[in-house]
């Protein structure tokens, strides 16, 4: 099969591309829209907003959700905010500046045209959300309030306390529920997509597991939209929810969807540090805290004094020192690396030495505790519950943790993957964040894709293709069903001695050690060898009790781990093949004298797109060359 990586970027000046493209797109008249059925897998910001909007337009939407309700998708956990180029604070923001900051923030590894469109529709998202009743923070005059986030020198982040993701998700969810009531969305809760069904070269359906009954179900449609989030849980410990996994995306990859830049993962600088082997996940402390918190470590190694007893002149406010113009608001990738460097130098704090301080002493002195509580109260409470220490009285201890994956299924300008009819939205695709995502941009991208992009591009796809009728008794559906059944039987029959989590933790250790914040050739090769070993052992020694005919949570976990064990190897391979450092991908061999990422634009200004070629054959690396016509490639500096 040939691999078509035509990005389909419309011609013309970047400011006009999207408008022109919308005008050139095929339309479907309202009475014909109701003849089309669209599957949307995932109900987070991207999937939820897409499902609601497509249903409003008149399409019949089948929506699949892994939790018991779409309101629980992991977008809900996003804390800090959502960016938009409104320029309400009159501080010099514009669509162009948001575009520029995002391309630069991504270390010049994203597609200009997509990012420009993202910045263009960002303002519509805020309008739409307010119309839905999202209670964004307001000033006393009733106007919307903004705050700053990393990688930007303007205040463009809208927020609803520390629960912005929750409020935006509940907005999209309310839109969905409205359309469920109208019969235009049919909800399938507690379902996990297990395979993509391709008929005559086009995505035409899915096979999913009913998590409650264990039954495998097939659904046919005219197009499939995947919005199943990222794959950060390949590391076992991450800020992702427990059910977040790669299975849906990975199965699409195996059915022909190119997987782009899998090694681009984001390690977020401000998370609660790891403290025990039993730990099931890591908790993020919003980046917004860096608006008022100052990051530091003691200047002296082994300084065991309480933080309050260490005078200012013996503290190293290292972000302010190294990056004077951005200070504590340096982007995530560079902030994380600096924390790692300090801890590697032996300056880390806490019982493990793998933590740095995030201190609010000066902000509380300046603004008073009440004002700080108003901004961050729920985050401070969350910290106190988990750690048992009061951040109003002593600094938080934080350390980087896996948070987001910029890589994902490759999509063109229309958000269509290399499988015609399969569109991929939100974190599940690779498109907008390059090698590093800026804070408050994930919510923006998820909602941009769902509310404002896919409604146009899907219509164009449906209007310009002939789609013969398909039914779930066709051989393609039966073959998918059989494949999933066989895998399930295999998992249940091993009856080994180790749990799915045992293997997942083993994989996670390898990934964190060799494919984490800092990577090198020898380590990556070692990772590949070790992952293969773990994968082999998994299929010989995993224990999955019970059977497939009920609510078997261990079976669900084991099936996900099996796919993570394949993805992990591809991530290491992708990191190995990218002989440069960029954004979150830091190869020790490629750094500047002051330890910053050193890009190689001559050889690597492209997205690496991997083609699956079968279980016993190596994946093939393809390239989508990136051209920069509106932003000048430069060394990214936040100094």
């Amino acid at each position: 099969m040939s691999f078509n990586l035509d990005s389909k970027i419309p011609a013309g000046p970047i400011e006009q591309k999207w408008d022109k493209h919308k005008f050139d797109s095929k339309l479907i008249n309202p009475s014909n829209k109701r003849k089309f059925t669209v599957i949307v897998v995932g109900t987070g910001l991207a999937g939820g907003s897409a499902a609601a909007t497509l249903a409003e337009l008149g399409y019949n939407v089948l929506s699949f959700c892994i939790q018991d309700s779409p309101r629980r998708a992991h977008s809900i956990a996003a804390q800090g905010g959502i960016n938009a180029a409104k320029n309400y604070p009159n501080d010099g923001d514009s669509i162009k500046r948001l575009f520029y900051d995002t391309v630069k923030g991504g270390d010049y590894r994203s597609r200009e045209a997509n990012v420009y469109r993202l910045a263009q529709v960002s303002n519509n998202i805020i309008d739409q959300s307010v119309a839905q009743g999202v209670p964004f923070a307001r000033e006393y005059g009733g106007y919307l309030d903004n705050r700053s986030f990393g990688g930007a020198q303007v205040s463009r982040t809208f927020y609803a306390r520390g629960q912005t993701g929750q409020q935006l998700l509940l907005g999209a969810y309310s839109g969905m529920m409205k359309m469920v009531a109208k019969g235009k969305i049919k909800m399938f809760n507690r379902r996990e997509m297990m395979d993509l069904v391709v008929v005559n070269g086009k995505a035409r359906g899915i096979v999913c597991r009913n998590l409650l009954t264990g039954e495998l179900e097939s659904y046919a449609a005219d197009a499939v939209i995947l919005a199943t989030g990222g794959y950060g849980n390949v590391f076992f410990l991450s800020t992702n929810a427990m059910a977040s996994n790669v299975t849906a995306a990975w199965r699409c990859h195996k059915k022909g969807a190119g997987f782009a830049n899998p090694c681009f993962t984001q390690i977020h600088p401000t998370c609660i540090p790891v403290h025990g082997d039993y730990q099931s996940k890591l908790t993020l402390m919003s980046e917004s805290l860096r608006n008022d918190g100052r990051v530091w470590v003691p200047k002296k190694k082994g300084d065991t004094r309480k933080p309050a007893e260490i005078p200012d002149e013996e503290r190293d406010y290292y972000l302010e020192r190294v990056y004077p113009s951005f200070g504590n608001l340096a982007p995530r990738d560079v902030s994380s690396r600096q924390a790692k460097f300090r801890c590697d130098e032996g300056l880390g704090v806490g019982s493990t030495g793998r933590a740095v301080y995030l201190d609010f002493r000066d902000a509380i002195k300046r603004d008073g505790q009440a004002k700080i509580a108003d901004k961050y109260g729920n985050l401070f409470e969350m910290y106190q519950k988990i750690v048992g220490a009061n951040p109003y009285e002593e600094p938080m201890m934080i350390y980087p943790a896996v948070h987001y994956t910029m890589g994902g299924l490759w999509v063109d300008y229309n958000l269509q993957s290399t499988v015609p009819g399969l569109h991929v939205l939100g974190e599940a695709n690779f498109s907008d964040h390059g090698a590093n995502r800026l804070g408050a941009s994930a919510l923006m991208q998820g909602l941009a894709d769902g509310y404002f992009v896919i409604p146009y591009t899907l219509g164009h796809y449906l209007g310009s293709n002939t789609l013969e009728k398909v039914t779930t008794d066709m051989p393609e559906f039966k073959a998918s069903l059989k494949m999933v059944e066989e895998q399930t039987t295999k998992l249940l029959s091993v009856k080994g001695k180790k749990t799915a989590d045992d293997f997942h933790k083993q994989l996670g250790h390898i990934m964190w050690e060799y494919v984490g914040m800092s990577r090198n050739e020898a380590g990556l090769k070692k990772a590949i060898a070790e992952i293969r070993k773990v994968r082999e052992e998994f299929w010989k020694d995993v224990q999955v009790p019970g059977d497939a005919g009920n609510f078997n949570t261990e079976l669900h976990k084991a099936a996900r781990v099996a796919d993570f064990l394949e993805l992990g190897e591809l991530m290491a391979l992708d990191a190995l093949e990218r002989n440069e450092s960029c954004g979150g991908h830091f190869r020790e061999e490629f750094q500047t004298p002051d330890n910053e990422a050193k890009r190689d634009d001559e050889n690597y200004a492209h997205s690496a797109v991997w083609e699956y070629t079968g279980p016993n054959s190596s994946p093939v690396r393809h390239k989508e060359e990136l051209t920069f016509e509106n932003v000048k490639l430069a060394t990214r500096s936040y100094k």
């Binding site: 956990a77 739409q128 307010v130 609803a160 403290h275 099931s280 989590d501």
Partner: protein
């Protein structure tokens, strides 16, 4: 990085499905660390069970940071353990003592049928939401966000209500099995905001009716819901909902009487 020294005696409700009878089963968990979350302690127990080839205890959980609303356990007779402003996933073992006996049960309420062990079906909440828990603002309709001025106190109060995570602790704690706190949080959020006023009457009438039809009980001011709500949602929202409901009901009643025509 070592695990801890606490030992806990657990009595956990096990039930294969809604059709079979359930019972409490005793388990002992050793080496519990005070830094573990309650769910991590259950994870440790489940890993022990699975290694022996036994069925893991089924419980709902996902984000494990107190926001998705998935986790739902009665711990020692109280929803989420009864710790102020805390979901089950945020309960940490430092709140317990070595040797404690802890009783763990599912939400028990008529409107939340049991699925397995500690997992229940809360889809009735989605049904309430479908009855009117939204503003009809189709994508593309919106005017500029700053065209609607919302004074900070109103925005803050709407946010207080909107913080509801839909976990169902209110229902599980209420002697009447009422879902009024959940429903009223949405009614109140949208009634407070200017954008929500156009549909306010229809919303409250239809949401209340659906709530009642789904088998939730009514509110008789026990305030157990408020006491156990992990997001500290106030019963003032129930009061506001009642006011909204009465006003809307009277108006519609009068309209019906004077109606006719058409």
């Amino acid at each position: 990085m070592s695990n801890g020294n606490m030992t806990l005696n657990l009595k956990i409700w096990r039930q294969v499905n809604a059709k079979t009878e359930g019972k409490f089963v005793d388990y002992k968990v050793d080496h519990v660390s005070e830094d573990m979350s309650f769910l991590e302690m259950i994870d440790v127990l489940n890993e022990q069970l699975v290694r022996k080839g036994d069925d893991a205890i089924a419980f709902d959980h996902d984000c494990r940071e107190g926001i998705c609303g998935m986790c739902s356990m009665m711990i020692n007779g109280k929803a989420h353990g009864g710790f102020k402003g805390t979901t089950t996933c945020q309960v940490h073992m430092r709140l317990f003592k070595d040797g404690d006996t802890v009783v763990v049960e599912p939400w028990r309420s008529r409107a939340f049928p049991l699925i397995k062990d500690l997992t229940v079906d809360r889809s009735a909440f989605d049904t309430i939401q479908q009855a009117g828990g939204y503003i009809t603002a189709n994508t593309g309709n919106a005017q500029d966000a700053n065209a609607i001025l919302i004074p900070k106190p109103i925005a803050d109060e709407a946010m207080d209500a909107a913080a509801c995570i839909g976990c169902g602790a209110c229902v599980a704690s209420c002697p009447n099995g009422s879902g009024m706190l959940f429903m009223s949080a949405k009614v109140s959020q949208l009634a407070l905001l200017p954008q929500g006023k156009a549909e306010a009457e229809k919303r409250v009438l239809e949401m209340v009716q659906t709530h009642d039809e789904l088998g939730f009980g009514n509110c008789s001011n026990h305030a157990e819901c408020e006491a156990t709500c992990p997001k500290d949602i106030s019963i003032e929202h129930i009061a506001r909902t009642n006011r909204e409901y009465i006003a809307a009901a009277i108006k519609h009643h009068e309209k019906d009487r004077s109606g006719g025509g058409a």
